[in-house]
């Protein structure tokens, strides 16, 4: 088993879960009632943070695991940890203002793309 990658996966899920809870709390603070998904800029930013994290999950998780299986559990977990850090920076920045979402987004994007590219290189080299 890939214990470090499993651990990083579960920590990534925990952080994602936190972004979901943050949307609920933002509903209470801003008065946007379910099922509405807009109506207050603070709520909309909280929702976009969750959604963007969700949107990257199908890129991040399969790339992370294919990298771990093909290349290295420890390196995959290390890059996965960088992804989580990027997501935390994104959360803090975007919660303050839409213009501050850039740095965290870039960190997590570079981490995810590195996992994807490493896995692709490994898969192609096995098939060819």
């Amino acid at each position: 088993m890939y214990h470090l990658t499993a651990l990083v996966t579960l920590l990534a899920l925990a952080f994602y879960f936190f972004t979901c809870i943050n949307v609920s709390r933002s509903r209470t603070r801003t008065g946007v009632k379910v099922p509405a998904m807009s109506g207050h800029p603070d709520f909309e930013r909280a929702f976009r943070i969750q959604m963007n994290t969700l949107e990257w999950m199908p890129i991040f998780l399969p790339s992370l695991w294919l990298f771990a299986i093909y290349i290295s559990d420890a390196i995959a977990a290390g890059i996965g940890a960088v992804w989580i850090v990027g997501r935390i920076v994104y959360f803090i920045g975007y919660s303050q203002a839409a213009a501050k979402r850039g740095p965290g987004f870039a960190i997590q994007a570079i981490a995810a793309i590195a996992l994807w590219a490493g896995a692709l290189w490994a898969a192609v080299s096995r098939v060819v």
Copy 2:
């Protein structure tokens, strides 16, 4: 292979697929045309049911499989079946009114968090 967990996974996907079809049917009933995602409360609740199920997929599926691999195929599948039941209760309640979405949500949340916590405990105990 983890046959029971595979079976529960495929049944969970089937139920999720059903919530997607339900959004299409709700468009026909309420007259909300694509690509609009709002305009009628019945449609918005149908869409939120699908979205919330989608939002929990990256928590549920990886936790389910890590639990199955680390601990037990049968126990993972059993808790996964509870998750599906919670999702069905959530679907029925939320389809009627936003205020009735609580019990189903709680059942599936407890099931997903149990899978996550079990997998985390197992992964940590392997690494430490």
Copy 3:
């Protein structure tokens, strides 16, 4: 390992990533600023293309892998490639007009359901 399925998975992620980038580019073209998710029909269609691709990811990816593990790496990868083609046809059609999204949607739906049904048949036959 399932090298062909891994390769098709990574190509599917790349195409999904492209639909995400397309939403960002559509924001620039149509002037819809974050965190707003509506305001111009071209932007809303670009967003729905990404969202629909995301919505099908939890159906496609687990079905693809269970099919590969239970039945065949090569057949899974072949059907997975059809799914990607369907997604590309969907992207091109829906980018032009909402009414043109049908054929691509049908292709990817048939491919995903074939993977799901094959995996279900295999899992049930192991359990029973």
